[in-house]
């Protein structure tokens, strides 16, 4: 198999950079993660030609899953063009000859992402791979991994809920902006990587498989398709997403495409004024294209 891949790729590296045994191990971890939704499966995170913390966990998942027929999209905080996304895409193009890449969410079959899930609803033939810095949501309340494992096993998340209680006491609402602890399939609570609250509901009953890879912490976990994902909350203080209202209570719109139902990034101008733009660059482009088409119709 190795010889075949070498001959195909025509360079010194195996297809997908990792050797086949490494890929196999990652795939086995993925299967286990899918079988036990939300459970953090340990795996032997390999050395990658980049620093841990730069998406090595996600990259190993992507490289283990990718085949020549795959169409890949790489995003970093919603953007296809940021340094991290561009470098990762180049690396994968280099080590996986024949793989095509795209920036279009509609076209891709595999998405490696940092900090965002695309706005466009995903389909059942797509897989999302998220890069994870801190896989364990309990790390904020319990330093010992041994005890954390027991707490996960017994679904003992009361100390996490106390954090939420303390937040409401101090600030009248839950102030976790990203990495919102989310209960998967009624048992394990995961750290859904630093996606904003806006993206948390997308985990619930998602048509696409969502995989999480932590390279430094050596953990893989998954939200399988059509699986329940509930953000932790109180029955009388429900979870809510960012509302992007201005001081008059109006929903802000993207200054580029005018969209009012996407996650917005805030940009501060030198003058001190703030502008808002869609965080998902492909979504923004699509909205502009749509607007142009509808404008063009009457003419």
């Amino acid at each position: 198999m190795n010889a075949f891949s070498h001959a195909q790729s025509g360079n010194a590296y195996n297809f997908g950079f990792l050797d086949e045994y490494a890929k196999k191990e990652v795939r086995r971890a993925i299967l286990k993660a899918i079988a036990i939704p939300g459970y953090q499966v340990p795996y032997a995170s390999r050395e990658m030609p980049m620093g841990r913390g730069f998406g090595t966990g996600g990259l190993q998942l992507t490289l283990s899953l990718i085949g020549p027929e795959e169409i890949l999209k790489v995003i970093d905080q919603g953007s296809d063009d940021s340094v991290n996304a561009v470098n990762l895409r180049h690396f994968i193009e280099m080590t996986c000859p024949g793989v095509s890449t795209t920036t279009k969410t509609t076209e891709c079959t595999l998405i490696q992402s940092r900090h965002r899930i695309p706005e466009l609803p995903l389909t059942s033939n797509q897989i999302v791979v998220l890069q994870v810095p801190y896989p364990d949501p309990l790390v904020v309340v319990e330093p010992s991994e041994d005890k954390r494992k027991t707490m996960h096993g017994e679904a003992d998340y009361s100390r996490l809920l106390v954090k939420l209680y303390e937040d409401i006491v101090k600030f009248d609402e839950i102030t976790i902006s990203h990495r919102y602890p989310t209960r998967i399939n009624g048992h394990y609570v995961i750290d859904p990587s630093p996606i904003p609250r806006w993206d948390v509901p997308k985990l619930n009953a998602s048509a696409a498989l969502i995989l999480f890879g932590a390279g430094r912490e050596k953990k893989i976990y998954a939200v399988p398709p059509h699986t329940k994902a509930e953000p932790l909350a109180f029955s009388d203080v429900p979870f809510r997403v960012e509302d992007f209202r201005d001081e008059h209570g109006h929903r802000r719109a993207c200054t580029r495409c005018g969209c009012t139902d996407s996650f917005l990034d805030e940009f501060a101008a030198d003058s001190g004024s703030k502008t808002y733009q869609c965080s998902d660059s492909d979504w923004c482009d699509e909205q502009m294209l749509l607007a142009r088409q509808t404008e063009g119709e009457p003419a």
Binding site: T150, G153, S158, L161, V162, V169, V237
Partner: protein, 276 residues
Amino acid sequence: MNKILEVRNLSKIYGPGCPLCLESTGPEADTNLCPHCGSVVAIHDVSFDLFEGEILGVMGESGSGKSTVVKNLYFDQAPSSGEAIFYDRDKQHDLFALNAAQQRWLRNHRFGMVYQNPHLGLNFNISAGGNIAERLLMSDLMDYGAIRERAKALLARTEVLLSRVDDLPKNFSGGMQQRVQIAKALATQPPLLFLDEVTTGLDLSVQARILDLILEIQQELKTAMVVVTHDLGVIRLLTGRAIVMKYGRVIEAGLTDQILEDPQHAYTQRLVASAL
């Protein structure tokens, strides 16, 4: 009266243990350290019954194994051998045969513990209200408003100023910390409460108020309690029955008045004589 707890032949040995451990330790040997293998026989062959709404005293000097008894029953430690049966309404739980999750469930729902050192019972990095909320959340109450109301009611009941509900326990006085601990232990209205040296180290007026509080709670809620203390005053005030321990063994058991007025064992006689 219904039995709530039945403890039989409870033993805890720290160390490897050897066949000579038991005969070479205890009150007669005047040590709990086995001279042959170096193991500490913390408790051996402790048996007692506890009935609904009753307060049982466990007294003895430091190192006699008093705290080890309640730590084992509250699952802080696992005993070396022995049996304890908890009668919960119409159900029976063989405490040491349960798995970790079942033990945690009992701990959170049906038992309460107040430690001598508030650091063990409270999380000092979250507010007093949060500490009580933690216990309520453990017992699956998920309504913020209801949790808040319960926390306030409990703190009011244990005479903690309501204006301090959201303060950190580390900014509280020792007596207040102890009252927050009691409130936390009572949060789920447990039928069984363990009190480990609750008043030790507090000044006399604060001691008196906490003891009053414990008595009132016992009258109101009919909570059964195991009170561990070396303070004979506390034993006399709170408990109906008591056991006296020395070097890990129970040397005397009976009605508190009887033990204090007419001690049978030489050690108990010395203990009572020295205190009164």
